[in-house]
């Protein structure tokens, strides 16, 4: 029940935020912050009262009793659909990340959104609610519902508060994800049908469907349906083209949510569903997925380098980073999976921060074109320093979270396929190329003469506080990632064992 409450708090908070606009234009923001804080507080309170946190040490994917939380209540019994949610270490981390970045997004929207603030914050909270649902649902239909529904407020955020080309971007985003979602729906129903044929029981429950005997061909096709849906969201090469447009056109808070959280749902889906539901098929498919991952790393990096739009560059860098996640998931060993999870979190912070910087620049310069920038460090040293931090974070500087992630992924992949790891490692070089180019074009060089007419305010207290929180988070992830690794370890181990069993059968 606690898990449903989390979603409900956010939903209701959204409604209140929408209505509170009548009080003042700032009210919705405070409501949003309070809602997120309340959700977080509630979650922590529930965790605090739980006496079986040690379950984190022993979770098996197929047994809900070993999960941290599990909740099940009938929804559409005719089809065996339940309101079934469960929380393990991976979900917990993702939920925490979501709430954290949600607060960051509210901060990012503080001055960026100057009309219909109420509806904006409502959409933001509703998106968060949907994402939380995605991270906790273990009924496949419920998962699908959250999966699709979270996109609608996101669509609104891009379509209403986006930049000049928002119609195109919002539409592209929605169609890509929905069309691939349809494939997932078909695959889900196929899986359920297969399960029903084998057992006679109509069930959408993850824990039931994990034990679905099916022919190899069926498994391949169904796996592909899930895979495409998740890889589009991830996004993996060659399904990534919605992302640069969506990220570029979204308002800052939207980009933060998109890059920080929404992309992670794709990765989460791969780890939670696409792989364990079809272990054998996943292993046979792994080489292709690894190839796509590597292709994404390099392709994203090359394209990031070619961009002149600040946000587009960061967006392509996300494509590149997400390639590492794809690699990590399909290397199918503990090291790489932990790396992928780490990357999900670290990338969430680093990219969210870069998008916030992009948003701050857009607010001040009314442009995202890096040809219109240059030498900004002089006018805004704080922003420059912060940007420098996140740029080196995104190029994988050891000591920061992204490095831990990428290194673990490479380590894991190397054990599976050396050449893939070698090519993926090229991403470290190409990553440096575009990251430093970003720094050079925006902050270094001679100050652009155009700035003389502009009021260039350096980061203020609110922005610095937000940034500092993310800096601390990344440093902590980079120097002491063990708590995070421990949280997910049992789930990851369970998954690896599950696959090994599945293959053995």
């Amino acid at each position: 029940m606690a898990m449903i409450s989390l979603v409900l708090i956010l939903l209701v908070g959204g409604v209140i935020a929408a209505l509170s606009e009548r009080l003042s234009s700032n009210a919705p923001r405070w409501v949003a912050l309070a809602t997120i804080a309340l959700t977080l507080g509630y979650l922590l309170a529930v965790m605090a009262t739980m006496d079986d946190l040690q379950r984190l040490q022993a979770s098996t994917p197929s047994d809900p009793a070993t999960w941290l939380m599990h909740f099940k209540s009938p929804w559409i019994p005719a089809f065996g659909i339940n309101l079934e949610m469960a929380l393990d270490g991976i979900s917990l981390l993702m939920v925490l990340l979501t709430l954290f970045l949600g607060a960051v997004a509210v901060s990012a929207s503080w001055t960026d959104v100057d009309q219909h603030q109420g509806f904006f914050e409502a959409n933001l909270l509703w998106t968060l609610a949907g994402v939380l649902g995605v991270f906790m649902a273990v009924d496949l239909l419920l998962f699908f519902v959250f999966w699709e529904v979270m996109l609608i407020p996101m669509y609104f955020m891009i379509a209403i508060w986006g930049h000049e080309n928002r119609a195109y971007a919002a539409m592209k985003f929605f169609i890509f994800t929905q069309a691939s979602g349809l494939l997932m729906l078909v695959a889900t129903l196929g899986l359920v049908a297969a399960h029903r044929e084998a057992t006679g029981v109509f069930s959408f429950s993850y824990f039931d469907l994990l034990h679905t005997p099916m022919s190899e061909t069926t498994a391949h096709w169904l796996m592909l349906g899930f895979f495409i849906a998740f890889v589009v969201k991830l996004p993996g090469f060659p399904f990534h083209t919605w992302l640069p447009d969506a990220h570029t056109q979204a308002p800052t808070a939207g980009s933060v949510i998109l890059a920080g959280i929404l992309l992670k749902t794709g990765a989460y889906g791969l780890i939670r569903f696409a792989v364990p539901l079809f272990p054998t098929a996943a292993i046979e498919f792994a080489p292709i997925a690894l190839f796509l991952g590597v292709a994404g790393i390099l392709y994203g990096a090359v394209l990031a380098f070619a961009q002149t739009d600040f946000k587009r560059l960061v967006a392509y860098s996300s494509v590149s980073h997400m390639g590492f996640i794809l690699l990590g998931v399909y290397a199918l060993n503990e090291l790489a999976l932990q790396g992928a999870l780490m990357q999900m979190i670290a990338h969430g912070f680093s990219t969210a921060a870069l998008f916030m910087i992009a948003g701050a620049l857009q607010e001040r310069l009314h442009s995202r074109d890096m040809r219109q920038m240059g030498g900004l460090w002089q006018a805004m040293p704080r922003m420059g320093a912060v940007a420098m931090f996140f740029v080196v974070a995104s190029l994988g500087l050891p000591g920061l979270g992204n490095f831990v992630a990428e290194f673990l992924v490479l380590l894991g992949v190397f054990q599976v396929d050396r050449w893939i790891a070698v090519i993926a490692a090229l991403g470290l070089i190409t990553g440096a190329v575009y990251s430093l180019m970003l720094m050079q074009r925006a902050f270094h060089g001679e100050p652009n003469p155009r700035f003389e007419n502009l009021q260039l305010n350096d980061f203020g207290a609110r922005e610095m506080f937000t940034m500092a929180a993310m800096i601390v988070a990344l440093v902590a992830l980079g120097l002491y990632p063990q708590p995070i690794l421990d949280t997910t370890q049992s789930s990851v181990l369970g998954l690896v064992e599950w696959i090994a069993q599945g293959v053995a059968q």
Partner: protein, 615 residues
């Protein structure tokens, strides 16, 4: 004391963080105190540590905390101190402190004074972590950390585009090496199951035989990393450009410490390299080739810092040669003496540049001997040590290297011969510099002589350059002992004599004018050759054409997002169909009826199986 090891990198780190956060609000003296003082304190702590170690020369290991523990990977933030580490720490904190002190005057006028010391302190911290690390992953952390600091400091004056370019080049070229090194780490971990250096070497020796291919591969990958960081062939091109940074930075990072990290890495993992004679030979060949190539290039340069930069590349080549022939101690010894005299030379050049309104061209200098006596003597001593004139510190270290190179099993004499040629060239170019800059007619007037904060470090470094050769390094336990037998006496005598010959040639060419350049050097071929050498054997241009421009072109090619064209095509198909179908909605009733009739006929067709079914 051993518990305070952590303090050594922590002090500069704290100082750096404080400067970053509060630097804008601090006064200059406070910044100086914090920036210079923290490194001074670290130096004192190092000295205390060294005392303790001398008393009880046992390696010290401490683990601060577990960094990550995933599957069979366990990596701690853990430090390992032995003689080698201590030598490195002493150089870093000692020379580092002097350079910090020097900087406090050199950079005093700069608007970003706090930022400068923040970066510099961060660098010292990262460098200390690099040498203290007990596992390769933590070493890699320091390794990349110094890379970033180098990037920040080379591009310190960021408003100039060229500086930014040089900084990026430095970072990216070294990153290429770093990536190879990371792959080496992956390979080593996958094969040996640990990244802890001591246990890894043990495991390697247990698992592999001398001459196996896997250790060779691993060592070559590590070598690539080392070559990147230490500016060796073929990844040396970044170092001359990196001179764009403030001169003290060049002294600290690009002469004394960071660039020798590669030497340290190979020395630290010598247990692995010993398993692979091939890798060892490669190290030696890379070293001597780089050394010669850079020496020739240095001879052609006119920018004072570029001369020193090529000289650095060349000297590190010697260190690699030493490592390659198994002269571990000699290599580290040369690392240390080189740190002294090269820091001296760089600081000296910094003093010149400082006093000569940022003039870099040696041909616009001259006659500075009398006007800047402190600097002159520093340069004299530094050049003498660099040229390895007898009794200077450089003499001892280089002599050892050449002698041990001669004894290398396979191609020893050839290495020795090449090394001699290098030594000759070194003497020529170093005294060419001295003669042109300090003798002859004054071309640019210095506006002042240096102040005490610059003079003291120079003086101390002069002293170290002179007496550094008598230091006994506590490396006996670290490295296997070198063979005791000495080569023939004539070898030793030739080795001693060659630098003197070089000095004579330089005197003849540039000061006394007794010699004139052979006639062919002024001809067309000579001119072309000089330009070729001046540009560093055209390697930059080669890379530009081979890597940089193709990458640019690739990016330009892809910038229109070819993948998206596929999706656009889908959209276009749908649009076209929409338009086409819309045009059928003509509003004409008879046309509508016709379509119904068509539909009826089609249905009849399907009903009679004329058309293939859809099911």
């Amino acid at each position: 004391m051993s518990n305070a090891i952590g303090l050594v990198p922590l002090l500069p780190l704290l100082s750096s963080l404080l400067l970053m956060i509060f630097g804008a609000r601090m006064t200059r003296p406070m910044i100086t105190l914090l920036g210079v003082g923290s490194v001074g304190a670290a130096a004192l702590a190092t000295a205390a540590l060294a005392m303790e170690f001398m008393a009880n020369p046992q390696p010290i290991e401490i683990t601060l905390w577990t960094w990550m523990k995933v599957a069979n990977l366990t990596s701690g933030v853990a430090f390992y101190v032995d003689g080698l580490t201590l030598v490195m720490m002493s150089v870093i904190t000692g020379v580092g402190f002097l350079i910090h002190l020097f900087s406090s005057e050199f950079m005093h006028q700069d608007a970003s004074y706090a930022r400068y010391f923040a970066y510099l302190n961060m660098f010292v911290c990262a460098m200390l972590v690099l040498v203290l690390a007990d596992n390769l992953l933590l070493l890699y952390l320091g390794w990349e950390g110094v890379g970033v600091c180098s990037y920040l400091l080379v591009g310190f004056w960021y408003t100039d585009r060229a500086n930014g370019r040089a900084a990026r080049k430095a970072f990216i070229v070294t990153r290429i090496g770093d990536t190879a090194m990371a792959l080496g780490l992956l390979l080593l971990f996958t094969e040996l199951g640990t990244l802890d250096i001591q246990s890894m070497v043990g495991a390697a020796n247990a698992k592999w035989q001398v001459g196996d291919s896997l250790p060779t591969l691993a060592c070559l990958l590590l070598l690539a990393g080392a070559a990147g960081k230490s500016a060796q062939l073929p990844l040396h091109t970044w170092l001359p450009d990196a001179m764009a940074g403030p001169t003290p930075v060049s002294a600290l990072i690009h002469a004394a410490t960071m660039v020798t990290a590669g030497v340290y890495l190979i020395a630290r993992t010598h247990g692995l390299f010993l398993l692979s004679p091939t890798a060892m030979t490669t190290v030696a060949i890379v070293g001597i080739a780089t050394s010669l190539l850079a020496a020739v290039t240095a001879l052609m340069q006119s920018d004072i810092k570029r001369i020193l930069a090529y000289s650095t590349i060349s000297q590190i080549g010697y260190m690699f040669l030493a490592l390659g022939v198994g002269a571990w101690t000699a290599g580290i010894f040369h690392l240390m003496t080189h740190a002294f005299f090269k820091a001296l030379l760089f600081l000296g050049s910094g003093a010149i540049i400082h006093c000569l309104h940022h003039e870099h061209n040696i041909f616009k200098m001259g006659g500075l001997r009398s006007r800047m006596p402190v600097t002159f003597w520093s340069f004299m001593i530094g050049s003498a040590a660099l040229a390895a004139l007898p009794m200077t510190s450089g003499f001892f270290s280089k002599d050892q290297i050449l002698l041990q190179a001669y004894q290398q099993a396979s191609i020893g004499p050839w290495l020795w011969l090449a090394g001699l040629l290098g030594a000759l060239l070194t003497a020529v170019y170093s005294f060419r510099l001295v003669f042109i800059v300090f003798f002859g007619n004054a071309k640019t007037e210095p506006d002042r002589e240096i102040g005490w904060a610059m003079a003291i470090p120079l003086t101390i470094l002069c002293a170290l350059s002179m007496v550094g050769g008598y230091f006994a390094l506590p490396l006996a336990q670290v490295f296997p002992t070198a063979s005791a037998d000495h080569p023939a006496h004539w070898v030793e005598i030739v080795s001693i004599g060659v630098p003197l010959v070089g000095l004579a040639i330089a005197y003849g060419l540039y000061l006394g004018r007794q010699l004139s350049a052979p006639s062919w050097t002024t001809g067309v071929t000579g001119q072309a050759l000089r330009e070729f050498w001046f540009s560093g054997w055209g390697i930059d241009r080669l890379y530009d054409g081979l890597l940089v421009r193709p990458y640019d072109r690739l990016a330009a090619l892809f910038s229109s997002e070819p993948v998206d064209r596929f999706y656009s095509a889908i959209v276009d198909v749908n649009q076209t169909l929409h338009q086409w179908l819309s045009s059928t909605q003509s509003g004409r009733m008879r046309w509508y009826i016709a379509s119904m009739v068509f539909g009826l006929i089609a249905l009849l067709g399907i009903a009679f199986n004329i058309a293939p079914g859809a099911l």
